[in-house]
Symmetry: C2
């Protein structure tokens, strides 16, 4: 296998065994970028010299160096994440060419672990709706999803093994499903948002992309600054899985429901206990509550742009989140916030009865066209509930495009959820 196609875990093992060097890996990823970028257009900034310099530095540290959990591994960063040595423009012409004075915490932790900051990748305008130029790596006529469009596409195109994104509504899980990669959004608060464009303090969560769950777990340990002990899906044995089509089931394609049925059946065959997990009817209102909370907070977080550069914001955001947020009364913000909090506590009890819920990751395949990044309804509720979510690729839709399977766990179960997901992946696709 060519180095760019390795997972981070595989590449680290090859580097440790002397079969691969960080510079060979970086060069292979750069070759892949040269081949795929003209069509995929995932990157806003990619400087081969800077990539190679970082790879040489990682190589010079040698094996056994301190803090080398990601030594020589390339990772791409959504362009709402500040980087001290690369431009960060938040998907907006207002900030074109902006060079931050420091790295976001997630960038600093990646570098401290020996990772190579490979480049910056396309975000929708301020991580909202107006898409950039990125295409789906499996079909350039289709959206990669958004707002973490470039992150999912860069991993899906085999350019980098790891990428970071963010989710305020459905910006991590949906692109992961559309681009056929693993995507993970953890419990709210565990990974710092310092140095990332703030939208909604209640909803914003860092997201991880990779081509294996082992990689997700490794990157998560780096970004939470906690010890990594590896995933042990073999210890899961007979998980309790709740089949949860959500209150928005009718928005999922029939083939998405069929995929859930097949996955549940494969899990049952492998020893899982499968039960229907029906959410309380009022959980359907979480989508509306999330809209108001993220709009109230989001419009105020963009106060500088909305007051000084209003004419340079797109109609998508002006007539969407900003209009909503400016219209949202403090009372509606408070009642929506309080409703979310109450549902979080209900969800703790409900989800605590399962090892994971099995849900759609998106309504179906990535839609045709680049103007619309797709329907986020199968993520919005979970984001607002602040629970960990992971999307597993492996299935295909009727057009041959990737489909994701989403697993959702109780708040704080992030590590356990990844082990259960590894068990499910083995049962369904193994």
């Amino acid at each position: 296998m060519t180095p760019h196609a390795l997972t981070a875990t595989e590449a680290l093992a090859a580097i440790a065994a002397g079969r691969l060097t960080p510079t060979d890996l970086a060069a292979s990823c750069l070759d892949r970028a040269a081949a795929r970028e003209p069509v995929v257009r995932a990157f806003t900034h990619l400087d081969p010299d800077r990539v190679m310099a970082q790879a040489r530095a990682a190589e010079a540290r040698g094996p056994g160096a301190q803090r080398d959990a990601l030594r020589g591994i390339p990772a791409a960063f959504k362009d709402i994440i500040d980087t001290v040595d690369m431009p960060t423009s938040y998907g907006s012409e207002i900030h074109a060419g902006h060079r931050p004075a420091r790295d976001a915490s997630v960038v600093a932790l990646t570098r401290a672990a020996g990772g190579v900051v490979f480049g910056k990748v396309v975000t929708a305008e301020f991580a909202n709706r107006r898409p950039g130029p990125t295409t789906n790596p499996h079909d350039p006529a289709r959206t990669p999803g958004g707002s973490s469009s470039g992150s999912a596409a860069a991993v899906g195109a085999g350019i980098v093994p790891l990428a970071l994104g963010t989710q305020t509504s459905g910006s991590v899980i949906r692109p992961a499903a559309y681009c056929g990669v693993h995507g993970f959004k953890g419990s709210w608060g565990e990974i710092s948002y310092a140095g990332i464009q703030l939208t909604s303090a209640t909803c914003d969560t860092v997201g991880l992309y990779a081509r294996s769950l082992a990689d997700i777990a490794l990157l998560r340990s780096v970004l939470t600054a906690t010890p990594f002990t590896g995933l042990a899906p073999n210890n899961v044995g007979g998980p309790r899985i709740g089949l949860c089509r959500t209150p928005f089931a009718e928005q999922a394609e029939p083939y998405t429901h069929a995929l859930l049925d097949e996955a549940a059946s494969a899990c049952a065959k492998a020893g899982a206990t499968i039960a229907d997990a029906t959410l309380p009817a009022h959980f359907a209102r979480l989508v509306d509550a999330q809209r108001w909370v993220s709009a109230y907070e989001g419009a105020r977080s963009l106060a500088y742009e909305a007051t000084v550069h209003r004419d340079r914001l797109s109609p998508d955001i002006l007539e969407g989140r900003i209009r909503d947020g400016e219209a949202c009364s403090p009372e509606l913000y408070r009642s929506s916030s309080r409703f979310g909090e109450a549902c979080r506590i209900e969800a703790d009890a409900l989800l605590g009865g399962f090892d994971a819920l099995l849900c759609p990751a998106a309504p179906g395949e990535a839609p045709l066209g680049l103007a619309f990044t797709g329907n986020a309804v199968f993520s919005t509720m979970w984001t607002f509930l602040q629970v960990p979510c992971v999307s597993i690729p492996g299935a295909k839709g009727p057009s041959g495009m990737p489909l994701g399977l989403q697993l959702v766990g109780p708040r704080g179960s992030d590590r356990r959820l990844l082990e259960v997901a590894a068990w499910v992946e083995q049962a369904v696709f193994g």
Copy 2:
């Protein structure tokens, strides 16, 4: 009265009536700064030319201009709040001279309302503990409190009518009490933190300083981007006030308890219903839980500084918040977070039985010396509960230093709390 000594509300009325101009007001505040700054040392950046240019621009807009809720009113900003035209160094030599590329949301909203960004004021290092050079405006041998040291001192010294700070533990209310000004920390989430140094997403809250509650209410409406309708304490009539010495009562000086008794008695005389409000015993654990949550989140938010510039961080933060945060396991972070959330819901019920709780704002007078910014214990719990808090000046301690009275309301009651506080202020000090 000289213009610098006017409240914002008084100055706006004088400007509207043609008795004062924004440039006269700015010049008077600059004169006051020239007289007081050599001793108070509240400012990290103060450029008279820039102040006057802003005042002239406000004046040129003329009365009746759109969006002039703060037309010509000077406001100072804690130096962890980004300003596009003034350096922002977060109280750390690491970022000395840093010039942000955009304004924080609170700065943008202040400017859009016609306010004059008067300068940047001293913060403890990254809004933590290591103090800057600011002295208490009532006694230069004493601390102004922290971490919003310069904000409280600049208002207390009569240099500006308004200032902004932030509170993660007790960084707004305690300096307000020590410096003899009004301080307010609203319900979590209502004012955006975009463009402000992130410490703890769970605890960080913007704080307001002024010399009247009317000013606090006005500034709050600007910063929440909601309509201002004025305070109507006369509509409060016979509020239900809970006397709450908190589980940390023994840390308050006898004269602080005596002040609470006198205030309660004056309120009762004026028609309030006074009852003891005893918090559940387990609320005492909130201080410890807040410590772990703010340390877990805070250490990760400083990942760039802690990995790249560790030798330029002070021992105060390295051996305090960063050491705590690096030692805090994800399990301890989660259990502490969940405990806080459960207590918030308990507090909603408990505080909902009152119009406000009457509490100490600090143990007593500002301590002697500048090395220790004082004990935050009478704020930490409220910050973690995400409830609105206001400190009212007017009383004096045995050394003649100011004492604050703190009023605390249920989450989301911010506007009502300010009206109740105005009623209490009239009853106690009127």
